[in-house]
């Protein structure tokens, strides 16, 4: 039996609904239809009255989640595509993210954002929103890259007392498979050494982890050992694990699918530069998507975001420097 990343997300929600009567799911088409990606398939039938279709009103969906959380519930809000979280942005960053700090009342809501690019999806169904949410205090931003993390981190997202932006990558939904769901998990806030190495640290998260691992495999055949760090969550960001890795390798390349200005790769590099400058044998490097909207055509899309090919080229440059 194999379980996809998408199955893991559905199974985690089923388990959360099963184990905690405070949990409910609210989103567009999530009910009997089972969601645009089928992440809630059969859940409305299994848990009557707890998996509920919403109107196309992201602001009101997220506002409702905050109100329900105040009354002690633990809502999961499915935003159909991460890109569509912008009409609900205000409720996330100004309402949910400030509630506990202002009032001491926790706001345990989970906002599922199907994010990232897939071929042919274009400017409005491809965005990576993690950096913009990580910028705001009061939010936890998870970016699982594996089937196991998709499952265990979503369960953790529902259980913690803060609003969680759960960035699930659409490209991984069907491609990524595991033999079984995990019994135990690393805690959120801890990065994972996805592949050990001694010549260079390659930091990635979400779908870019798999491009990074492919590059490490390719360069291993050339005698270079790349250490790949999977951030797992971008907020909190596990600076310690990254710096410990850079201490071993002396070289840092950080890769993100999001746009270059500010953002996660900039943050990682800033932290390593300020806290671990002496550990670096070469200027730290980063690779992001191009600074344009995400293009529609596969030929353009393949070059817009980092790929194993462009990451390998950047890694080779860094290793030579």
């Amino acid at each position: 039996m194999s379980i996809t990343y998408l199955d893991a997300i559905r199974e985690a929600q089923a388990r959360a609904l099963q184990e905690d009567p405070r949990v409910f799911i609210y989103g567009q088409d999530v009910g009997s239809f089972g969601g645009a990606f089928k992440a809630t398939k059969n859940l409305a039938q299994t848990f009557p009255g707890r998996v509920i279709d919403s109107p196309i009103s992201e602001d009101a969906m997220l506002g409702l989640a905050v109100g329900a959380a105040i009354q002690g519930m633990r809502p999961i809000i499915e935003i159909q595509f991460a890109d569509f979280s912008t009409p609900g942005f205000n409720q996330i960053v100004n309402q949910a993210a400030t509630l506990h700090w202002r009032t001491r009342v926790p706001c345990p809501i989970t906002v599922r954002l199907p994010c990232g690019g897939t071929s042919g999806s274009g400017p409005f169904h491809s965005q990576s929103m993690e950096a913009i949410y990580a910028h705001y205090p009061g939010l936890v931003v998870m970016t699982p890259a594996t089937v196991e993390d998709a499952y265990s981190m979503l369960l953790e997202a529902v259980s913690i007392d803060d609003p969680v932006i759960f960035c699930e990558h659409k490209y991984l939904y069907y491609h990524l498979k595991a033999e079984r769901l995990p019994d135990e998990a690393m805690p959120t806030g801890k990065a994972r050494i996805a592949r050990p190495g001694r010549d260079m640290t390659l930091v990635a998260y979400s779908a870019m982890l798999h491009e990074a691992l492919a590059v490490a495999e390719e360069l291993a055949s050339e005698g270079t050992e790349i250490e790949v760090v999977d951030l797992r969550s971008v907020k909190p960001l596990d600076t310690d694990t990254v710096i410990a890795s850079v201490a071993r390798t002396g070289r840092l390349l950080c890769v993100g699918e999001a746009w270059p200005w500010g953002g996660v790769t900039a943050e990682v590099i800033a932290r390593v530069a300020t806290e671990g400058f002496a550990l670096l044998d070469a200027p730290p490097q980063r690779l992001n998507a191009k600074d344009t909207p995400v293009p529609y055509h596969p030929n353009l899309w393949a070059v817009h975001r980092p790929t194993a090919r462009s990451i390998a080229a950047a890694a080779r440059r860094l290793l030579r420097s």
Partner: protein
């Protein structure tokens, strides 16, 4: 004209109405005196940030608060001192929040009208208009899921707030879910300085309710009796399962948007129209005309309210301000997930 409904009731009913009207008036008076005190402290430079008054909106506001009961949800807006008091907010909470006392419910982290006790149903507004309505919906939605019956949620907004997308989304959501939401629109004719003709094109905001498929009613917001009756009925209908209710009160804001604003743009014709009546004075005249109070009683009530406010202000002025070195500077409830979280020294 003052609302005459109360003249058609039996002796017992009139006694009960007298009690309600008098209670409402005294809360309006307390709210007015509090607002005047905040304005005075603002002019003395004792308040950080803005001061926003409910002058002219007390009748509507108090009627909302009095129609609610324990277990209900209330999302007041910036001109609802009276409604907050009627819902049970202590005077001390308001004073501590305006003066930035760390002992207040907002612990000096937020100020002025951004105060409440969400666990007790008093939601804390954010500044983005329309955004609180869906939060009320969520609380009501949760109550329904939890099997809690008979609770109502009230959300207050102004004419300007009805232009936001959040307003539309939330009213539509409440209608779709048939939630016991009572939406109170204070059509006070100006959103900051913008007159209503630049805000909406329908003849009256109450015309909008049909489009949402909900019930709605207009009321003269300067008339306490009318407000008590209309809000009482709307809350009862919502409580009885009739779905969302929208009340549009016509009135005039008898102050600036905030105390920094002299409101010189307000049309004098509006000020001199029936809309420009001061609801507190109208209620006072009604009490006197019906023999429910005399001049001595009114003066005593005013004195009592003023004493209450002065005592609170004096107490809070002796409280120390917030100490930035004792702040935990942590936005998350899950402290172990907080970036850069450092426990304050000695904690």
């Amino acid at each position: 004209m003052v609302h005459t409904l109360f003249n058609h009731h039996s002796v017992d009913e009139i006694a009960s109405l007298r009690g309600l009207y008098t209670k409402a008036y005294r809360l309006m008076l307390l709210a007015r005196i509090m607002d005047e005190k905040f304005a005075s402290l603002y002019r003395m430079g004792k308040i950080h940030g803005g001061v926003f008054l409910g002058r002219g909106q007390e009748a509507l506001s108090v009627a909302v608060g009095l129609a609610l009961r324990k277990g209900d949800i209330f999302a007041p807006l910036i001109r609802d001192t009276a409604g907050r008091l009627a819902f049970g907010e202590p005077v001390l909470d308001a004073v501590r929040t305006y003066l930035g006392s760390p002992l207040g419910p907002m612990r000096a982290r937020d100020g002025n009208v951004h105060r409440g006790r969400p666990r007790e149903g008093l939601l804390v507004m954010i500044s983005h208009l329309g955004a609180m309505i869906a939060v009320v919906n969520g609380a009501l939605f949760a109550n329904r899921m939890k099997g809690i019956k008979g609770t109502v949620g009230a959300a207050c907004i102004g004419d300007g707030g009805t232009s936001t997308g959040a307003f539309h989304e939330a009213v539509n959501q409440a209608a779709v879910e048939k939630l016991p939401l009572v939406l109170i629109v204070a059509d006070n004719h100006y959103a900051y300085s913008t007159p209503t003709e630049r805000q909406f094109a329908c003849a009256s905001l109450v015309d909008k309710v049909a489009g949402y498929g909900i019930e709605g009613k207009a009321v003269d917001g300067t008339d306490l009796g009318a407000c008590l009756e209309v809000l009482g009925e709307a809350v009862s209908r919502a409580r009885d399962g009739a779905g969302p209710q929208m009340i549009v009160a016509r009135l005039l804001r008898l102050c600036g948007h905030g105390e920094h604003d002299d409101a010189s743009y307000v049309d004098p014709a509006l000020k001199n129209s029936p809309l420009g009546r001061d609801c507190l004075k109208v209620a006072e005249a009604y009490l006197l005309a019906h023999g429910w109070a005399d001049g001595g009683a009114l003066a005593a009530w005013r004195e009592e309210a003023a004493q209450q406010v002065e005592t609170c202000v004096a107490k809070v002025q002796r409280e120390p301000g917030p100490d930035p070195y004792k702040e935990d500077w942590c936005a998350l409830a899950s402290k172990h997930l907080s970036e850069g979280y450092e426990p304050a020294s000695g904690q």
